[in-house]
């Protein structure tokens, strides 16, 4: 496997540009006559060798963001605005043909349900070799050799390559998916809930594998998950999304120790933690908004314990605080010193 740093860049690449820069991305779904504002103006960067975690609850737009990056959106979804720049090359709004040069070869994705993503009637080794033959234009023998190398890299004995997907366990199938994603030596691997369906011990094995590959191959990683604990243990930076927008983004060490946005504070307080006191869990009453009719102003305002009048009418701008954390909340205006706002104790509110 070629480490990312030694690979030639695509022809139009700007060597000075960040690896990946997403700006003002808006992806909307058509649902009958209505529009679902699934991703509604998000921006972020990914530097070489970095691991970024994108977290949020169901419907916050994290998976839609990932699918927008690799151009694998369902037919009723479109990127309506914004740019996705890889080495400075804008991928947004490209045709299928224009994207082919980059998907898998530059940005690869590992999905959650390995059983659905693998072809049940083709041997694992052949499934990995096929895209190598097609995209890298090398002969079958060399491709099969490389497929075997990839399997060993992800911890599957070469001989198991002859197995069909159903003959492998869930953890082994997820390893095979990772091998497939690595087939064309991509610079960026996106994991969309790569460990969600797995047992905790297998999850630990897969996360360990991803960390090892990152170090060994110089990969950049985008880890999309609802599980903030997984991000705390594997990522450098975290971006918390809520209802299609960025709530807070910054270094893991900063966001997890001093969460600023009321949503981040409550979300972290709601996660069971073996290291802290039992039954100190916080709750977030209410439910995320219907993204066909998102509320004006801050989208978290209807559930926010410290919402002010301005929150229900004016969209909070994204402000970068000292320490580099970016937060979208009216409690942190431009020039704020970034001291976290104190929330009232949770729990006595109405039921969801």
């Amino acid at each position: 496997m070629t480490p990312a740093a030694e690979r030639p860049l695509p022809r139009q690449a700007d060597p000075a540009a960040p690896l990946l820069e997403v700006e003002g991305l808006r992806t909307h779904f058509r649902l009958g006559t209505e529009t679902v504002h699934a991703v509604d103006g998000i921006s972020f960067r990914l530097e070489r060798g970095e691991a970024l975690g994108i977290a949020g609850e169901s419907g916050c737009g994290k998976t839609t963001t990932a699918l927008s990056l690799v151009g694998l959106l369902p037919a009723n979804a479109t990127v309506v605005e914004g740019s996705i720049k890889l080495y400075g090359i804008d991928l947004a709004g490209r045709t299928e043909n224009g994207l082919r040069r980059y998907r898998w070869r530059e940005i690869a994705i590992v999905f959650q349900g390995a059983m659905n993503a693998l072809n049940p009637v083709i041997r694992i080794r052949d499934q990995i070799a096929e895209p190598i033959i097609q995209r890298l234009e090398i002969d079958e023998k060399a491709a099969l050799q490389k497929a075997g190398d990839l399997l060993e890299l992800v911890g599957i004995p070469r001989s198991r390559g002859r197995a069909y997907p159903h003959e492998l366990s869930g953890g082994m199938r997820q390893r095979a998916m990772i091998a497939m994603a690595l087939a064309c030596d991509p610079a960026i691997v996106i994991g969309d809930e790569p460990t969600t369906a797995l047992d905790v011990m297998i999850q630990a094995q897969i996360l360990e594998l991803l960390e090892r590959l990152r170090a060994q191959l110089g990969l950049s990683l985008i880890l999309i998950t609802h599980d903030l604990s997984v991000i705390a243990e594997t990522c450098d930076r975290v971006m918390i999304m809520y209802a299609g927008r960025v709530a807070e983004e910054g270094l893991v060490a900063e966001v997890f120790t001093r969460p600023r946005h009321p949503y981040t504070q409550r979300l972290l307080g709601a996660i069971p933690n073996l290291h802290v006191d039992r039954r100190a869990l916080e709750t977030i009453p209410g439910a995320p908004p219907d993204l066909r009719h998102p509320p004006p102003g801050c989208r978290f305002a209807p559930r926010c314990p410290v919402a002010m009048d301005v929150c229900t009418s004016v969209v909070p701008p994204e402000v970068t605080l000292p320490g580099g954390v970016r937060v979208a909340c009216h409690h942190y205006p431009q020039g704020s010193d970034g001291r976290p706002i104190a929330l009232p104790p949770s729990g006595q509110e109405a039921a969801t």
């Binding site: 609850e57 169901s58 060993e152 992800v154 911890g155 599957i156 004995p157 198991r160 003959e167 492998l168 366990s169 953890g171 082994m172 047992d199 905790v200 011990m201 297998i202 999850q203 630990a204 094995q205 996360l207 360990e208 594998l209 960390e211 090892r212 170090a215 060994q216 609802h226 599980d227 903030l228 604990s229 997984v230 705390a232 243990e233 893991v252 060490a253 997890f256 120790t257 409550r266 979300l267 972290l268 709601a270 996660i271 069971p272 933690n273 073996l274 290291h275 039992r278 039954r279 869990l281 916080e282 709750t283 977030i284 009453p285 439910a287 729990g347 109405a350 039921a351 969801t352």
Partner: protein, 379 residues
């Protein structure tokens, strides 16, 4: 047919220590036969049994939350199904309030039992019928079990259950259909459906696994509130040790159909005496940034849980145990009492000894991945 549950005469002569036990399992065993494939039958191979639950003793006390923690294939769901009489045990006894109900079967015989013992499943989307109103869903167990003499009485019970499950105002929710509710509300409806029977024991099989974290905690609180109000006992089945930590009084850790360790939540999480528990605790992710947690000290076990059709000899955990020695390969350890009601099925816990430090893994140790792969048994 044994005596009906709750018969006071049958309670006499019981062990006084067991007086507050609502459910007791003794030597519970559930083996499923595996039918041999056509080709295997020709060659005379195949068949065999899956030992899903393989000798489990457990007791749930009144008003207690007992968490049953295990990975897939540990038998945790099967135990839950046996307790609510949806799966038949192949050996062992089940006692409700000290009365042997092992042989209680059939709709009529189980009517009284089902008033006492209810189940909440994981997926509210599958449990609810999209064409059935919330009222009809919650009222159904009353009709099936002939509870409530008049429609008015039944209506009152349904509304009370909805209210207890936090669906207020209950009249409004009763008229709705599942698609009009959020995921959290649906699971509350499922809980109301269990509460309407006014049970003493609720088996909750991964009741919050499908829900987002922000909604989860409200349901956990609801379950704890109901326990306080009604002295409900829960068997809380989960794969997530950190959920067990926040809700359970006691935790039982299962592996391949056996209890590996049992004790209070504090005992099991803070001072595990079984290597399997210790490894699970070490890999359970926590939302602490690395700086605060220190370098992550994780014990990542090699390989995967073996098939329940071919359980290893000796201690069933020995092939994956970083501390295994000769005795473990030949002799299965019983549950050793390690003090304060905690017990561990490990030779290292014999005589109440504490567990040696487990070897830990570093993600940057490339050899770790390769050697691990070499040992993975073919599935």
């Amino acid at each position: 047919m044994s005596a009906p549950p709750g018969n006071p005469a049958a309670r006499e002569g019981r062990d006084p220590a067991a007086r507050d036990e609502v459910i007791r399992l003794e030597g519970l065993q559930v083996h499923f036969p595996v039918r041999a494939a056509w080709g295997e039958r020709l060659s005379g191979h195949g068949g065999g049994v899956v030992r899903a639950v393989d000798g489990v003793d457990l007791a749930i006390r009144a008003g207690e939350v007992l968490a049953l923690v295990g990975e897939s294939g540990s038998g945790k769901t099967t135990i839950g199904r046996v307790i609510v009489k949806l799966t038949r045990q192949t050996a062992g006894r089940i006692l409700l309030d000290g009365v042997d109900v092992s042989r209680l079967w059939g709709v009529k015989a189980l009517r009284a039992y089902r008033r006492r013992v209810q189940i909440v499943f994981q997926d509210p989307y599958e449990t609810l019928n999209p064409r059935q109103s919330i009222f009809d869903f919650v009222a159904e167990p009353l009709l099936v079990n002939h509870i409530g003499a008049t429609p008015e009485e039944r209506r009152a019970r349904v509304l009370a259950a909805l209210e207890a499950a936090g669906l207020r105002p209950p009249e409004e929710f009763a008229a709705r259909f599942p698609h009009e509710l959020s995921g959290g509300q649906r699971q509350r409806v499922v809980i109301a459906g269990a509460l309407v029977m006014e049970p003493h024991v609720v088996v909750a099989d991964e009741p919050v696994s499908m829900l987002d974290v922000s909604i989860r905690t409200e349901l956990l609180r609801l379950m704890l509130d109901l326990r306080a109000e009604r002295n409900l006992a829960y068997l809380f089945i989960t794969h997530d040790l950190s959920l067990a930590w926040v809700i359970a009084d006691r935790i039982a850790v299962l592996y391949l159909g056996r209890v590996m360790e049992i004790g209070t939540a504090e005992q099991v999480i803070r001072s595990p005496h079984h290597p399997y528990t210790a490894a699970l605790v070490s890999v359970s992710p926590t939302p602490d940034p690395p700086e605060e947690a220190g370098a992550p000290v994780r014990t990542i076990l090699v390989g995967e849980t073996p098939d329940a059709a071919s359980i290893p000899a000796g201690c069933r955990f020995h092939p994956r145990c970083p501390l295994a020695f000769d005795r473990c390969r030949t002799e299965a350890p019983p549950l050793f009492d390690v003090g304060g009601g905690q017990a561990a099925a490990c030779w290292l816990a014999e005589g109440g000894r504490s567990l040696p430090v487990l070897p830990t893994s570093s993600p940057l140790d490339a050899a770790g991945g390769a050697s691990e792969a070499g040992k993975v048994p073919g599935t």
